[in-house]
């Protein structure tokens, strides 16, 4: 139906919510990428089949998507976060979370839990430290330490259903905003202290205000969903898992700044996000939430999706705007800010997905509420993708200011195989590496910047002692080398040379004095490049140099990679004292370079060894050593 007044909307939401409450049991099957790849669809089918046979009064939802008929490829959906132990099945209202569910187990769930109300112990999450099984999702340490605002609805509601969003109170903030003056809306956002979640951390309210102040006959609102940092997929999850929230945030922004047209720029690698958002836009148009006279008011606003073409640099605002205009995504110098001269040279507000997703809650709960979460300079919460060599990989959201240690060891559950912690990389390719001494750092914009890294969009990659920091820096520079647009000299040529130097280090070809050369060039690229991408490109080099200089020196002076990663200067050996002769490494070796018999000492044939590290990865006894 098409809503012509806010009251109609409120009535409908109330009806939907009350129907919702009558559902006795709700089974949410996570179909995030991780769970889907691990068999969430088969689990879903098995659940439906078993439930059909049992004629149960319940609702099974493939959360957040309802269209499992589509091919697996497309199901990169917003997830319930805890990818590590998927497929996940969440049963409401009991808040039971089953992990690693298989189709066979699905039938068990129907028979035991849904029909008889019994909890199946062996499907529950087991705390690796205590060995204790935990039934309730909210009591699992991974979830316990989280506070969700941007991810409020992600993985909890069917993403393509406007009704589901309305039932959960969606669009009530928009109705509220329509009763406020634009200045009052902006005031609320300013009061909230919300800062851009895309990386720069610019105050959102102030950005909106300057857009209003800028001269122009037309204004645009752009949502940046070109999430390109490797190891970051928060925005993807939000766009796929809760698209209406993003749209609502944009509509409220349009109302505040007086924009009539909006764009969502979605990364090329996220086809599912595109289809989700498109479906949501269509539903909003039909419901009178987009288009002319939204909810019967004077507000006219419509949103178009613009798909990226696979260019990291398009996450940079000026490049993104060029791309929307149908051009090569080359950044421009931002001496005139895009709030004044942005898309088509008109005043433009550009915020990222997570930023817009925070807006409805801010309008609903008031700015003050948001501000009291987080820290002085960084209000609210922040979504992170916790990945790398951490036990609990997944999508998380924690209040700003949470100590890094609580994130890595609390939510994250520590390092895989209890190896020593070495570093956390934050901020993607533009960010930096933090070392052990930073573990007690409160995670917020300013603290991370002060420590030589940055918030970035929220990727958090945990590294253990088997990660080589020279290799990590080289990896990021390789990434940036391929992603640099090639327009300005410091970025195009500078990154090439930085990468070439790191390449030489990894091969053991570094020379004394190279570090100074590396450092100087890195600093010059930092100040000399045209856009934010180029200016931040040397960060991985500079931050690893600062915190792990000894590793660089080992590569250059001793021609050794302490972590045993850089193949050219590493030799894999088996420690005779530790090897138990379990044959695991023999099975893992792709080149059959390891020989040995059961319960006898194994040996590596150096001629055949490609130094891939597979043996070390599988060895349970730490018997594979590198020199």
């Amino acid at each position: 139906m098409r809503f012509t007044t806010p009251t109609e909307l409120a009535d409908k939401s109330a009806t939907l919510a009350s129907t919702d409450r009558k559902i006795k049991k709700r089974v949410l099957v996570c179909s995030g990428t991780g769970c889907a790849a691990l068999g969430a669809f088969e689990v879903f089918d098995a659940l439906v089949e078993a439930a059909d046979g049992a004629k149960l009064d319940l609702q099974i939802e493939l959360a957040p998507c309802a269209d499992h008929a589509e091919p697996l490829y497309a199901t990169k959906t917003g997830c319930q976060g805890f990818c590590q132990v998927g497929p996940l099945v969440h049963i409401q209202p009991d808040d039971i979370l089953y992990t690693k569910v298989t189709p066979k187990k699905a039938r068990e769930i129907v028979e035991q839990t849904l029909q008889q109300g019994k909890v199946i112990d062996k499907l529950l999450y087991k705390n690796p430290e205590t060995g204790e099984r935990i039934a309730e999702r909210s009591k699992i340490p991974f979830y316990q330490n989280q506070t969700t605002i941007a991810l409020e609805g992600c993985g909890r509601v069917a993403a393509e259903s406007l009704d589901a969003y309305l039932a959960a109170g969606g669009f009530a903030p928009l109705a509220k905003a329509l009763t406020l003056t634009p200045e009052a809306i902006i005031g609320e956002v300013v009061e909230s202290g919300l800062r851009g979640r895309g990386g720069g951390g610019f105050a959102t309210g102030r950005k909106w205000r300057s857009c209003v102040a800028a001269e122009g006959d037309e204004r645009f609102v752009i949502c940046n969903g070109d999430e390109g940092d490797p190891g970051a997929f928060m925005d993807c999850c939000i766009m796929e898992g809760d698209p209406y929230r993003v749209l609502e945030g944009m509509i409220i922004c349009a109302l505040a700044v007086g924009a009539k047209r909006g764009f969502i720029y979605v990364r090329n690698e996220y086809p599912r996000a595109v289809s989700r958002l498109q479906a949501a836009i269509d539903a909003c148009r039909a419901a009178g939430l987009l288009g002319d006279n939204i909810l019967g008011s004077d507000l006219d606003f419509d949103i178009r999706i613009s798909r990226g073409g696979g260019a990291f640099v398009c996450g940079e605002s000026s490049a993104l705007m060029r791309s929307i205009e149908g051009n090569v995504g080359e950044p421009r110098a931002k001496y005139v800010r895009s709030v004044a001269k942005g898309l088509y040279d008109k005043p433009t507000v550009l915020n990222n997905v997570e930023t817009f997703a925070c807006v409805p809650a801010i309008i609903r709960e008031r700015g003050k509420w948001f501000r009291q979460l987080g820290t002085e300079g960084s209000a609210g919460t922040k979504a992170f993708c916790l990945v790398g060599k951490v036990v609990n990989t997944g999508l998380i959201e924690v209040p700003m200011g949470t100590p890094l240690r609580d994130v890595v060891f609390g939510v994250g559950g520590g390092i895989i195989n209890d190896r020593p912690f070495k570093a956390v990389q934050t901020g993607g390719p533009s960010g930096g590496c933090l070392s052990e001494e930073h573990l007690d750092l409160p995670v917020d914009f300013d603290a991370l910047t002060a420590a030589g890294s940055m918030m970035g969009s929220g990727g958090m990659i945990v590294m253990d002692d088997h990660t080589c920091m020279v290799d990590v820096a080289r990896y990021f520079l390789k990434f940036l080398l391929e992603e640099s647009c090639g327009k300005c000299v410091p970025c195009r040529e500078g990154i090439f040379q930085l990468h070439a130097m790191l390449d030489a280090f990894a091969k053991g070809e570094g020379k004394t004095g190279d570090l100074a050369k590396l450092e100087r060039l890195a600093e010059d690229v930092q100040v000399g490049a045209l856009c934010g991408l180029g200016k931040s490109a040397p960060n991985p080099v500079l931050s690893t140099l600062r915190n792990f200089r000894d590793e660089y020196e080992a590569h250059i002076e001793r021609k050794k990679c302490p972590a045993g990663v850089c193949q050219a200067i590493t030799t894999f050996l088996i420690d005779a004292e530790k090897c138990t002769g379990c044959m695991l490494c023999i099975k893992a070796c792709p080149t059959e370079a390891i020989t040995g018999q059961k319960k006898k000492l194994h040996a590596i044939n150096q001629e055949l060894c490609t130094k891939c590290g597979a043996c070390r990865l599988v060895c349970k006894d730490d018997a594979v050593v590198t020199t």
Binding site: Y335, E482, C485, G486, Q497, A500
Partner: protein, 250 residues
């Protein structure tokens, strides 16, 4: 009208002017490679980087490209600060490594005191990706060449790296190229550029090559000039007309 300070001297500037414009007008030398007054500034070479600050900046400074930075009241610009000189040198060092064959770049680099040697490219290219040719070609409305690919692989090329279809052989790209990277070979009858061969219009009096036929056709269509202007060379025009004028003045 605003006032800015460049290298401790006060200058008046119009709103919307760039630092480079004000500096050049007042004979302050800021080196550039990708800048051209008639073409849109791109800020690619970064050679024109200058250091700016303001009275209320609490001593903080910023390096910006002079060709793009619009002046603002009270702006304080240093064109030869330590940071500026260091960056300029690095930019030139990097370009030297990119196109070691270019004498223009080598001279410039030496002039700025080349210090660091980087891994040299060996493809023999002299292109520094200043985009001057691409912008000039677009300015003429031909769009025969463009900057293709990205990153280190970025290069100027015609579509599909084949012969440039919409090229008219005007030679502007070769003329404007600061390093002489663009190859253009002229004979008495033909011009070869971008894998294409163009036939010249020759002077109907002396037979000297004038412009390419394609360029003539382009100019006729886009510049609305009578055909005969193109068929005689300048010297022959003058020679023919001198007789004509002599008769008139009798």
């Amino acid at each position: 009208m605003t006032q800015i300070l460049i290298d401790n001297r006060k200058f008046n500037a119009e709103e919307g002017e760039t630092i480079l414009e004000v500096a050049r007008r007042n004979q302050i030398d800021i080196p550039t490679l990708c800048h051209h007054e008639a073409l849109e500034a791109v800020g690619a070479c970064r050679l024109c980087t200058v250091e700016i600050t303001g009275e209320d900046w609490n001593g903080s400074t910023k390096l910006v490209s002079a060709c793009l930075y619009p002046v603002e009241e009270g702006l304080i610009v240093q064109t030869r600060s330590e940071g500026v000189l260091r960056l300029r040198q690095t930019v030139l060092d990097l370009l030297m490594a990119r196109c070691p064959e270019s004498t223009v770049i080598r001279d410039l680099a030496t002039q700025h005191g080349q210090v660091t040697e980087y891994q040299q490219f060996t493809d023999g290219s002299k292109c520094i990706m200043c985009y001057l040719c691409v912008r000039a070609c677009a300015k003429l409305g031909c769009h025969a060449i463009s900057a293709v690919n990205r990153g280190t692989l970025k290069e100027v090329a015609p579509p599909f790296h084949e012969h440039a279809e919409s090229c008219v052989g005007c030679g502007t790209c070769a003329t404007i190229c600061p390093t002489g990277h663009i190859e253009m070979v002229d004979t008495a009858e033909t011009r070869t550029i971008w894998k294409r061969e163009f036939e010249f219009v020759t002077c109907k009096v002396c037979g000297e090559p004038l412009i390419t036929k394609a360029y003539r056709d382009y100019a006729l269509e886009n510049r609305r000039l009578p055909n005969d202007y193109y068929t005689v060379c300048s010297a022959c025009k003058k020679s023919e007309l001198s007789g004509h004028f002599a008769r008139l003045s009798l």
